[in-house]
Symmetry: C2
Subunit: 362 residues, 2 copies
DNA sequence: AAAATTTAGCAACAGCGTTGCGTAATAGGG
DNA sequence: CCCTATTACGCAACGCTGTTGCTAAATTTT
């Protein structure tokens, strides 16, 4: 990690992002709310609010009469002031969503992709889908960009697909570059699970703690939110959670090792014993908690969402059994609130996050 | 995580810390070195260097003649300008080290602790040990504080030991508070493994990537350095890496689950098959890599250091076998450079880090 | 109508990194 | 010997940030 210089423009973006996070989390807010949440002085908050109002990102929404004294001005986010498009590129399908500044999903559309599709074919599908969405909403000037979430390995920093599992035509493809050229939009490329966890963090706001998004969908992956930012690892390859060994004497996995969580889970699921499969996944989740100590665990993925309650209760029970020895070890387990849209929506939010989220110094 | 306001004093501390990191990493440096490393303008670096020189933290150390033109002033860190003491509290021993600003360990001393020692007994031992060390070096005014690394669970933010495993008298002890009162020094309390990984990160400087420190010593733990900071998790409880299940059908562990890494490793070690034990640990390490994608893995702990080469080669081989499919997946495996001092030294560096390291916004 | 209370914001300020430009120190060429 | 090119350094002015001190506005209570 190469650290980068900090100048006053960083402060501007940082504190502005704090205020935006408040606006996204609370439906309405006022100056005092932000003062409490950020520790800034009221005067400083006034300046930030003035800037955001001038940009059209927030607006006054009435007043609150405090019983006595001058009424406080109430503000709210202007959700339709900015939009972003998110794409979830899977092996056979492309899902596109339109997300506004508040994180609300406005449109969601799935289209098939050819078997072993090429970069060209993906770009054609993206261009067509985006045209449709932009036309519907008339988003001229309000479209921030396109986020793409897809399977790895890839290089998020350089927008490069290294070698997408199971896709022959995707070795060292500079997807961000060619997509930006073709579509005329800022593009952000990331792993699917990382996009997914960003969606949850974006919706929960600045107080969201360490968390993981567990994806069960043609494989098992994990997206991580640690210390207030997405964790991608040293080579953007974090999240291969399905390929952690949970059974040393278990069956051989495609990755070459024995008893990976993914293969053990798959065998149970193929045998029709979903409850057992869910308990296997739960073991893996508790492993994560032991290692990382998370505040939230979110469950998602097409295969998991076919039996949501089975998985939810298996994981919840395992987590509670593990935490029983200490009352302060609280971890909330939940299904992802965005359902099948979580990856695409998260990819869109990553673009919004680049502009209106906490700027990174690292 | 509650984010905190950023004002101009943050910039000061942040950029100052970047320069200090350069000074710690490189034996000598000059203005242009810092400009390249940080992206600051030369003028800004001059101001920072002037401040640090005035504080006695760095000093001029000659000039470099660039062949043509005015010679460049060469600077160096002043290692003995600041010191910190680090304590590693284990179940039966207390290790104290004296560390200077460069991260060099000057003194190291181990003393026994009574079985089931009380907080009072620990404080007595700390006070005695610190008196000896301070007397030797005459550190008046240069001692930054005391760092304590110990087993959890504990609450790092509030300096509270919740319930140290295997120590009866350590339930909800406000160790930081009582130690600061008794010793008259700033005190930082953290989990042993977190202190350990801080030691490695502090010595490597600001470019140190995502990393884990694997400790094998009456149990197996892991300390994590992710995204430029120590990862402690939602309740300062991250790192219970030994209690991740690697063998679903394995023996029952003290934690109640079956086939934890720790119990499987222990059975192999007790059977005398260290090579097998090392391979078991290596499976766990690769699990971590799959999940977190780390740039460095560091091995430490008394039990591991009895067979350093066995463990090092087992882990190295496993990591390489796993990374074989992709040349860009490079992870360096090494023994911790500080040996048995790593926890205590890291605890000391955490105190130094609070003053001279990258300030945290989160 | 006056007092108390709460909120809002103008104006001056201190401190940060940046920019513009002049100065110091060295080597090489005419 | 002098001039020029080169490299490093730093003063001074600047723009920007959040902070501080203080005044004004809007409302309820007395």
């Amino acid at each position: 990690m190469t650290r980068v210089t900090a100048d006053v423009t960083f402060l501007r973006g940082y504190n502005q992002a704090l205020v935006m996070a408040v606006g996204r989390t609370a439906r309405t807010f006022e100056r005092a709310t932000v003062v409490d949440a950020t520790g800034l002085t009221p005067q400083a908050v006034s300046k930030v609010i003035a800037r955001l109002t001038a940009d059209g990102l927030i607006r006054p929404a009435g007043v609150r009469r405090p019983g006595i004294g001058k009424p406080a001005v109430v503000y709210e986010l202007v959700p339709d002031s900015r939009y972003a498009i998110g794409a979830h590129v899977a092996r056979r399908t492309l899902r596109l969503v339109l997300v506004d500044l508040a994180g609300t999903v406005h449109h969601s559309a799935v289209s098939p992709l050819p078997r072993d599709f090429t970069p060209e074919q993906l770009l054609d599908a993206l261009a067509a889908g985006i045209d449709t969405m932009v036309g519907v909403g008339d988003l001229r000037g309000r479209l921030t960009g396109l986020g793409i979430g897809m399977i790895g390995p890839l290089d998020h920093a350089n927008g490069l697909v290294r070698d997408a599992h199971g896709l022959r035509h995707w070795r060292d493809v500079a997807l961000r570059e060619i997509a930006e050229k073709r579509l005329g939009l800022p593009v952000h490329l990331d792993k699917d699970v990382t996009a997914g966890i960003t969606a949850e963090a974006w919706r929960h706001g600045a107080t969201f703690g360490d968390a993981a998004l567990i994806m069960v969908e043609s494989g098992i992956g994990g997206g991580f939110w640690l210390g207030g930012a997405a964790h991608r690892g040293a080579h953007t390859n974090a999240g291969e959670f399905g390929h952690t060994v949970v059974d040393l004497t278990g069956p051989r996995c495609v990755c070459g090792r024995h008893g990976c969580l993914e293969i053990v889970h798959q065998h149970a699921a193929e045998a029709g014993d979903i409850a057992h499969a869910a308990r296997v996944l739960a073991v893996g989740v508790v492993n994560l908690l032991q290692t990382l100590d998370l505040a939230h665990v979110l469950l998602a993925g097409a295969d998991l969402l076919r039996h949501p309650q089975t998985y939810l209760s298996a994981v919840t029970e395992a987590v509670q059994a593990d935490a029983r020895r200490a009352d302060w070890l609280s971890t909330r387990v939940a299904l992802s609130g965005l359902g099948a849209d979580v990856i695409a929506a998260g990819a869109a939010m990553q673009i919004l996050d680049q502009h209106y989220g906490i700027p990174e110094l690292a």
